[in-house]
Symmetry: C2
Subunit: 427 residues, 2 copies
């Protein structure tokens, strides 16, 4: 059984390699660029995510016996192709935006320089990882922004593919979600995990009181009790009766949350549970979170809308050949033009440190005061630069994102549809 990612690839990458090997173009020096033509849905910014996951997988992108057998069985029998794949090991260079960086239309998020056959082979995996993870991170960042300083918890595993769920938990943590429900995200990336109970646990018991008592006995009075299985007011009364006024939190998962949260706060305070927090979780997205800003809510659990990118489940990044043997190339298809040539990029800032433009040029950028270089080396000669543990890479990305997001102008935080917060200057 193949254990690496090499077959997570579109067949046409291999047919192109076969044809290029046959006519001698496979070795041409090529530069491929990953970028998004636009931000989805009038978003103001995007967040680059997935780079760490991609670099984790790169060393095992190899064609062993299992992979080659699978290719033969699918009719890919060209001996020259199979020989070449058997010896394949990516030997090129990769540069890109640091994970957690913001991106705008045309930002050169990743650049792969390699012989054609090596570079084209990575296309599908590169795009799968970056498009998925960046879509989740971009949506999650808006939620974190809407929540201001209140904590957000990721709990959408059940609404997306079981492996995508792990990547989604990682992407959410990258932009500031404090925890996830997903245990594998905890193991693989060190994402803090959290969880208490579901309605089923209450229904399992003879009454709500017995369920709450069982939970408090096992998890302590600091736990979060789910109070809306039957009647919220009775649920809260029972919760405080069982756990005492030191109860950590209650969770509301249905109904009109602003109204319910206000009533719950009054009731908790009247019962002396003034420190008991209120967590809400019912089909939240960035708009619902913003709508709860005036309500006495202490934390948000977000599921479906997070793992599905809140209306934009893919980042729409493409992987385009922009240079061949040092010459810029670009297709001229209607509505899908691209700009040839390898790019440089800086983020320009005013004297106060607020970002003012994304400068993307085909040649080197003439540096100005306040410019920050956006492209950093990721792979050199096939070796990942500064390799780090999966959790170390994620921590670095969390810190980088927090830093760069502070430089955004205020209009970036608008949830309404509009233009990107920074203009991409291609001069």
């Amino acid at each position: 059984m193949p254990t690496g990612p090499a077959l997570l690839t579109d067949r046409y990458e291999l047919t192109m390699v076969a044809a290029a090997l046959a006519d001698g173009t496979a070795d041409r020096d090529c530069v491929f660029e990953v970028f998004a033509r636009r931000l989805p849905h009038g978003r103001r910014y995007g967040v680059v995510a997935g780079t760490g996951r991609l670099l984790e997988q790169l060393p095992s992108f190899r064609f062993g016996d299992a992979e080659l057998t699978a290719l033969r069985e699918q009719g890919l029998t060209d001996p020259r192709l199979l020989d070449w794949l058997a010896g394949f090991r990516f030997s090129g260079d990769v540069d890109g935006y640091a994970e957690g960086e913001l991106f705008f239309p045309g930002s050169p998020v990743l650049t792969v320089r390699a012989p054609f056959a090596e570079g084209v082979l990575l296309e599908t995996l590169v795009l799968s990882v970056l498009n998925h993870d960046s879509a989740i991170a971009s949506a999650a960042a808006r939620m974190v922004g809407a929540a201001c300083e209140r904590p957000c918890i990721e709990m959408g595993s059940r609404r997306t593919h079981e492996q995508a769920a792990v990547a989604a938990a990682r992407a959410a943590h990258l932009v500031g979600f404090v925890a996830s429900s997903n245990l594998e995200a905890g193991r693989r990336y060190g994402v803090p995990t959290t969880g208490t109970s579901a309605h089923a646990f209450t229904l399992l018991h003879d009454d709500e009181s017995a369920a709450f008592r069982a939970q408090v006995d096992t998890l302590g009075v600091g736990t979060t009790l789910l109070v809306d299985t039957y009647d919220v007011a009775k649920g809260i009364a029972t919760a405080v009766e069982v756990a005492g006024p030191q109860l950590g939190a209650i969770r509301l998962d249905s109904g009109d949350l602003p109204t319910l949260a206000s009533a719950a706060r009054r009731q908790l305070d009247d019962l002396g549970a003034t420190g008991t927090r209120i967590i809400v979780t019912s089909d939240l997205d960035e708009y619902a979170i913003a709508g709860l800003m005036a309500a006495p809510v202490d934390g948000y659990g977000v599921g479906t809308s997070l793992v599905t990118g809140s209306g934009a489940p893919t980042a729409g990044m493409v992987y385009k050949l922009v240079e061949r043997d040092g010459l810029p190339v670009a297709k001229r298809s209607e509505g899908k033009n691209s700009v040839g040539g390898r790019k440089s990029a800086v983020r320009r800032h005013d004297p106060d440190g607020t970002a003012t433009a994304e400068v993307v040029t085909s040649g080197p950028v003439e540096p100005r005061e306040g410019d920050r270089q956006l492209v950093v080396p990721l792979v050199r000669g096939g070796e990942v630069v500064a390799p780090s543990s999966p959790s170390g890479a994620l921590s670095a990305a969390v810190a980088h994102h927090r830093r760069v997001r502070e430089a955004l102008p205020p209009e970036a935080w608008a949830l309404s549809r509009g233009e990107p917060a920074l203009e991409t200057v291609t001069a």
Copy 2:
């Protein structure tokens, strides 16, 4: 490193198990039911997909040393919980709709009967798999319907998580997509794979003619040449010049496809390439496919909108405790009511064999002529019933789906938003 799916689980499943073990409720006989409260976006029907993938993973849902260590590191240290998990092996029964079956609001798509602790543990994985795969299959089925008999090819791997891509290719094939670009879907499930070349391959070469010649030399004149890198009319002329009138197909990936396809057909016919097919691929969804019905198009390649569920990236299925110790249970949360008790379901048909209703009852259904039982046994005493290879299970689902979809009333094929094609009768 864990190799099984046990950690692809929300933490609260384990905290509930811990609390239930402590208070003696873990062994209560429970029935959990998977259903969708509604179909997304005014869809007329949904397609159950993922069952085969779920049953593949069930036997390896175990907690070995690697999993237990990971749990301890995340603070799940309760010895009673860890002991129980170390010995865990699902011992219950699972019934459900056959994979490929249609579903409607309230259809009991999957039913798990087991002691509470065993049943609750499967919740996250069950929902992740079914919600993802059913969302893709439900969208893909509309595309296949809109394409009538013209072949659809799945090519969306790059727009979704790299592992979700494999499941998406499988789900698309299940409902009639003839092939996929994804090589791993070919290996794992026997999905036919296909692929020829991208714009990068043309740009790699000194001119279009050299690129086409390289491709034809390697893949034969039956291949599909991508003709829109520079100018479509010139591209077609060059394609036929290089490959001759026996050229298999051309592909159009940009521009106004109805206009371009008509012009391409005329040009190909004038060049004597009357058998050369026209494949189109630019951001298609079910509406764009329907809009091309009058155009001389021979096949559709679908990417983004397929793997993202065409606006409905998750099926919205939930996993609810409906019975405990033989008694129906249900929460009464506002807007999220559910109906207690284990369900039976039949699809009712008129004498012509057209489906007329989805009958879902808490007791057994009084059978009528033309009723078809929808619930079949999947797991008995923890053992998968009639285990079959992954590709065998998929073939069976393909055949089942084709059969049951023929019984749908004509209104089911409407792409417009509306009511479900069958009413769910809960009497």
